[in-house]
């Protein structure tokens, strides 16, 4: 019996098969990987490792004949090893399907060689690819032939979080938003994923289909927790905290993480104690006639909190009701009579009623972007290439911290005033720039700020000079082979430009023998890293990447030249 799954044995087995039958298997893996990369789901060598681990092949002689073969096996619970009945097993591209029997077994006759993709699913279970956070079904491929023995397929049982939200007297709290938060790294940046469920009338909540992993649980009671009557009433002076992180934290840094194992049923109960609530009021000084004004109170971890608020358009005053003590940021969004967005932000510590706040609204920043093309290549020199209508660069602004939203735009060449990034709230942003027409970003400045080296700082109400981006085409190239022991494997090479630490490293997935080639590199000095997996590597953060400097190779890429480099494989996965 051949075991399918995520273990290293399976990996090794597949690697052997790659050597035996490199072309079709690698072709498929390569194809799948490209698709994943396109989807920006993963960007790491781990992807390939995983694909390898789930591609299990029998002892096929090649499968060139016209005979058809049987495919059979068993689906088991990856935790208990018990067979799982009524699992849907499908073979593609032949569209054969069956449910497993009471003993978890399945059996197909007349499956045409040489390959079939086998897909298994059942509510309450995940496959290994999903466990890794892809949230996308990637399924094993079998080599069909006379020697394919019974296979064992593993499904990972879902985890479930359930519990109750109640007050200190044991009374259920209905309508509380229970937030399950997962922090993870995607595309080299810290991300936050959140799903929400609401407590029922008996205070209970239940969240299933949880993948194994680390979570933070928070409850956000409805401010009208005693019903709408209480929510509106003027004379109700107490309420539950705006947000409580399990077990009793006020923000995510004081929360206790919950580690869910496959198949685990975890009970999380919240007991909330009413506390004093306060009224916050102030004025939004502006001569503009305001439209569509929204007042938001944001928690310390960036949570959007719901409070009752009122706004008088006549005297531009606002009142936020029933605010528990705590640290917040008030954000006010509005539009003036011309429809132009206005924004105001003010940190606020609430310990008592507060009145007389002045929160001046300012126009949100709009950053003009000029893209210059300083190309000297033969196509340009001879007038054969015209970039006038092309989308030359893509600019992303990644907000530093959870208070503000990411933004960005795609730009054409030139100094058209319409080419700009609108509605940028004050704050710090990491600017990521991609040259869409080949070449590289030679410089990116916004006033005195060198955006290749430092973040963009947008001050409140400040007018920013245009962002000047210069693209050049005297690109260099780097090629080489990753050094590693053991069977062939793919990895991901990162090239971090030392002259542009604020830009994400260039990356490329190697072949199974470790070969790689990176093009369109800006000339200059680089550190070169090779990772088995980028799954948890915050590689856009130079400080996080510097932990691996001891295994990084250093090279200088010449203009219009090529450099060879052989970085050592950095193994991050156990």
């Amino acid at each position: 019996m051949t075991s399918l799954g995520c273990g290293s044995a399976a990996l090794w087995l597949l690697d052997v098969v790659f050597w035996l039958q490199p072309l079709p298997a690698f072709y498929m893996v390569s194809l799948m990987y490209r698709k994943l990369r396109f989807l920006r789901l993963v960007g790491s060598g781990a992807a390939i490792g995983l694909l390898c681990s789930i591609c299990v092949v029998g002892q096929s002689p090649g499968g060139q004949g016209i005979d058809k073969y049987k495919v059979e096996g068993t689906v088991v619970n990856s935790v208990t090893g018990e067979p799982i009945p009524r699992v849907l097993v499908q073979l593609f591209p032949n569209h054969q399907a069956a449910l497993t029997g009471p003993d978890g077994s399945f059996h197909f006759e007349a499956v045409p060689p040489p390959h079939t993709i086998i897909r298994v699913r059942k509510p309450g279970f995940y496959n290994d690819a999903t466990r890794r956070g892809w949230h996308r079904d990637i399924f094993p491929e079998l080599t069909v032939g006379p020697h394919l023995g019974p296979v064992t397929l593993k499904l990972i049982p879902e985890a479930v979080i359930f519990g109750r939200v109640e007050d200190v007297d044991g009374e259920p709290i209905e309508g509380a938003a229970v937030r399950v938060i997962q922090l993870f790294v995607t595309d080299g940046r810290q991300q936050r994923n959140e799903s929400v469920n609401f407590s029922a009338e008996d205070g209970s909540f239940r969240m299933a289909e949880m993948l194994p992993g680390r979570y933070y649980i928070a409850v956000q009671p409805n401010q009208s927790f005693l019903g709408t009557l209480a929510g509106k009433a003027e004379d109700v002076k107490e309420g539950y905290p705006a947000l409580v992180y399990y077990p009793n934290g006020t923000d995510i840094t004081s929360a206790m993480p919950v580690d869910l194992a496959p198949g685990q049923r975890m009970q999380i109960n919240f007991s909330l104690k009413p506390e004093p609530q306060y009224t916050i009021s102030g004025v939004v000084p502006t001569s503009s006639r305001l439209e569509q004004l929204t007042v938001e109170m944001v928690g310390r971890s960036g949570e959007r909190l719901n409070f009752w608020y009122g706004f008088s358009a006549r005297d531009k005053t606002f009142t936020i009701s029933k605010v528990p003590a705590g640290k917040y940021v008030i954000q006010i969004y509005a539009k003036d009579e011309n429809g132009d967005p206005l924004f105001a932000e003010m940190p606020l510590t609430v310990t008592a009623n507060k009145s007389g706040l002045r929160v001046p609204l300012q126009p949100e920043s709009s950053i003009p972007v000029n893209v210059s093309i300083d190309f000297a290549g033969p196509g340009v020199a001879h007038g054969r290439v015209d970039y006038s209508g092309s989308q030359t660069a893509t600019v992303y602004l990644h907000a530093d911290g959870p208070l503000h939203r990411d933004t960005g735009a795609v730009f054409k060449r030139g100094q058209d005033p319409s080419l700009r990034i609108d509605n940028v709230a004050p704050g710090k942003y990491f600017v990521e720039i991609h040259a869409n027409i080949g070449g590289y970003v030679q410089s990116a400045r916004c006033g005195n700020m060198d955006l290749l080296r430092e973040p963009l700082v947008v001050s409140t109400g400040g007018k920013l000079p245009p962002m000047e981006i210069v693209l050049r085409d005297d690109v260099g190239m780097a090629a080489g082979r990753v050094q590693f022991d053991g069977p062939p494997r793919q990895s991901t090479v990162l090239m971090a430009a030392q002259f542009a630490p604020a830009q994400p490293p260039k990356q490329e997935v190697t072949g199974v023998n470790g070969d790689f080639q990176l093009e369109d590199l800006a000339p200059g000095e680089y550190k070169v890293y090779a990772f088995d997996s980028l799954e948890q590597i915050e590689y856009t953060n130079p400080e996080a990447l510097s932990r691996y400097d001891s295994k990084a190779a250093r090279v200088t890429v010449p203009p219009n030249g090529k450099v060879k480099v052989s970085p050592e494989l950095i193994v991050t996965e156990k």
Binding site: H95, A97, A98, F108, E201, G227, L229, D235
Partner: protein, 542 residues
């Protein structure tokens, strides 16, 4: 359009709920406000069934006077509550408690009794009867007793919708990982449940019929719409009778049936966007939220697999604007041809107020097909002109005008189209272009009055204004409830002849059914409402 219909229907329900909060008319304010006097409202909150006092119920008092703040209090251990220091006027009293419905005082339907305080008015020792909320929960399992996740459970409440008692959507729920669903905070009444789901293992639609192998053939299944307690036909649906406080368990098991395919061929010259050809089923006459979008197989041929047996409306709108509409009873794999476009009419018109006025942005005209419940909406221009972008198929349509505060749609005239009150007929073969003139008035009348029984004011009585030609003008009914001092107000009444009724214990009547009202009409007060007329009437409660 199907999407729009579902959306509009949801909006209409939401709007109805909104109106329910707003509509009960204020009691007439006493002319002279005695600021030197303060008054009190007090009483006891009790369980409506057992009369036991309810401690820790939250009671809210909302003055109808503009700008006055709402106050709340908790009942004491003996259920008592009190609000003192009140100015003369009318107040809306509400209460809630865990396990009970949030209610206004003596609430019936969307009406309640306002508490009026002032000299010589009794506003003490009120008995606030709080009804326990009911709930329905259950578990949906499949033929192997495994939970069905993400099944759609639709709850219908039997209530007056239009002229008679009929099931109408009350809410929907999605089953969780153990197949459970729960409907909370239900008022007592009669309910139906319908479940629609697809077996998680169904391979329908995974490939064309030709490529599904015998191994998978058995998995090409679906679940028919199931009605509690197991029927697959609405006529067999069991009524769930909920009394206050009931917690009803309605478990259901779904049994798969072979899924069906429908192939639709269109005229050779027509092109259809995928999003413009769809199938939809109805549940109790209301469009199911579930829609099936057909996929293109080849030029002019569209197909959908995984269908359950039943009655469907097939609808396609070509890129040239032609409508193809057909009803299909699906019992086997079927093919239909939509080569003949459905005749449609262009409907346009004008909003005509009594005196010229600029139509505000946001004013719109709504057409609803009285059979299919399909809804079309079109904005009116500042001049009041409108024209429906999509042409309208044959049928009977009710007209509504919204988004113009202060103006009431009272009637219409049309070129050649048959009219019946605020309904008109579209017959594209005879009249391919219908022009409507929709008449609006600001000159509505108002009736203020007092309901009496044995010459004493009586509270909590259903007040109803019945239009003379009720059969053709169901929109002209007006209702309210008498307050603690017997007063009531009916407003937004178009000119015309009406009968004013006060019916005690009349809240279960089919109030828009002339036959049901017949026994009361003889003792009603006849009133001829003039434009902008205001009337003070006394009416004897029956």
């Amino acid at each position: 359009m199907i999407n729009l219909r579902s959306y509009i229907f949801a909006c209409a329900l939401a709007a109805a709920g909104f109106l329910a909060q707003r509509n009960p008319s204020p009691s007439p304010q006493p002319a002279a406000v005695q600021v030197s006097h303060v008054f009190e409202i007090n009483g006891t909150v009790i369980d409506a069934a057992s009369s036991a006092p309810l401690a820790h119920a939250r009671v809210a008092l909302e003055p109808l006077a503009a700008g006055a703040a709402q106050r709340t209090t908790l009942t004491a251990d003996d259920g008592r509550f009190a609000f003192n220091g009140l100015a003369q006027g009318a107040y809306r009293l509400s209460a809630e408690r865990t396990g009970y419905l949030r209610q206004s005082f003596e609430q019936h339907d969307r009406y309640s009794t306002l508490v009026v305080v002032g000299p010589d008015l009794e506003s003490g020792n009120l008995l606030f009867r709080l009804r326990r909320s009911a709930a329905i929960s259950g578990r949906i399992t499949d033929e192997q007793n495994e939970p069905v996740r993400r099944a759609n459970v639709d709850l219908f409440q039997v209530a007056i919708f239009g002229e008679r008692l009929t099931p109408y959507p009350h809410g929907s729920a999605i089953t969780n990982d153990v197949g459970s669903y729960h409907f909370a905070h239900l008022p007592p009444g009669k309910y139906f449940l319908a479940v629609h789901a697809k077996p998680w293992y169904s391979t329908s639609g995974a490939a064309s019929a030709a490529s599904v192998k015998p191994d998978g053939a058995l998995l090409d299944v679906t679940y028919p719409i199931a009605f509690y307690s197991g029927a697959t036909d609405p006529a067999g649906a069991a009524v769930i009778n909920l009394a206050a406080g009931d917690v009803f368990t309605a478990d259901m098991t779904l049994h798969p049936v072979p899924a069906l395919r429908l192939r639709v061929s269109l005229g050779p010259a027509e092109t259809i966007q995928r999003a413009a050809i769809a199938l939809q089923q109805s549940i109790f006459g209301f469009p199911s939220q579930e829609e099936f979008w057909l996929r293109r197989v080849e030029a002019g041929i569209y197909e959908e697999a995984g269908l359950r047996p039943g009655h469907y409306i097939v609808q396609a709108r070509s890129t040239t604007g032609k409508l193809y509409l057909r009803e299909v009873d699906l019992a086997t794999n079927s093919e239909i041809s939509l080569t003949e476009a459905t005749p449609t009419a262009v409907v346009s018109g004008l909003l005509r107020p009594e005196t010229p006025a600029v139509v505000p942005t946001g004013a719109f005209v709504q057409l609803r097909n009285r059979k299919s419940q399909d809804v079309w909406i079109e904005q009116a221009s500042a001049k009041g002109e409108f024209e429906f972008k999509e042409s309208i198929p044959a049928g009977s349509y009710s007209v509504e005008v919204h988004g113009w505060p202060g103006f009431l749609f009272t009637g219409m005239v049309a070129n050649e189209a048959k009219l019946d009150g605020q309904t008109f007929e579209v017959n594209p073969v005879v009249t391919p272009a219908v022009k409507l003139t929709l008449l609006l008035t600001q000159g509505t009348g108002e009736i203020m009055g007092v309901a009496l029984r044995e010459n004493k004011p009586v509270s909590g009585v259903m007040i109803e204004l019945v239009p003379q030609d009720a059969a053709h003008h169901p929109d002209l009914y007006r209702r309210n409830q008498s307050n603690t001092d017997g007063t009531f107000t009916l407003d937004a009444i178009p000119p015309g002849r009406y009968t004013l009724l006060a019916i005690q214990n009349g809240w279960d009547l089919e109030w828009a059914n002339p036959e049901a009202l017949k026994p009361y009409m003889a003792r009603g007060e006849i009133v001829q409402v003039q434009q902008k007329g205001k009337y003070n009437l006394k009416v004897q409660a029956q």
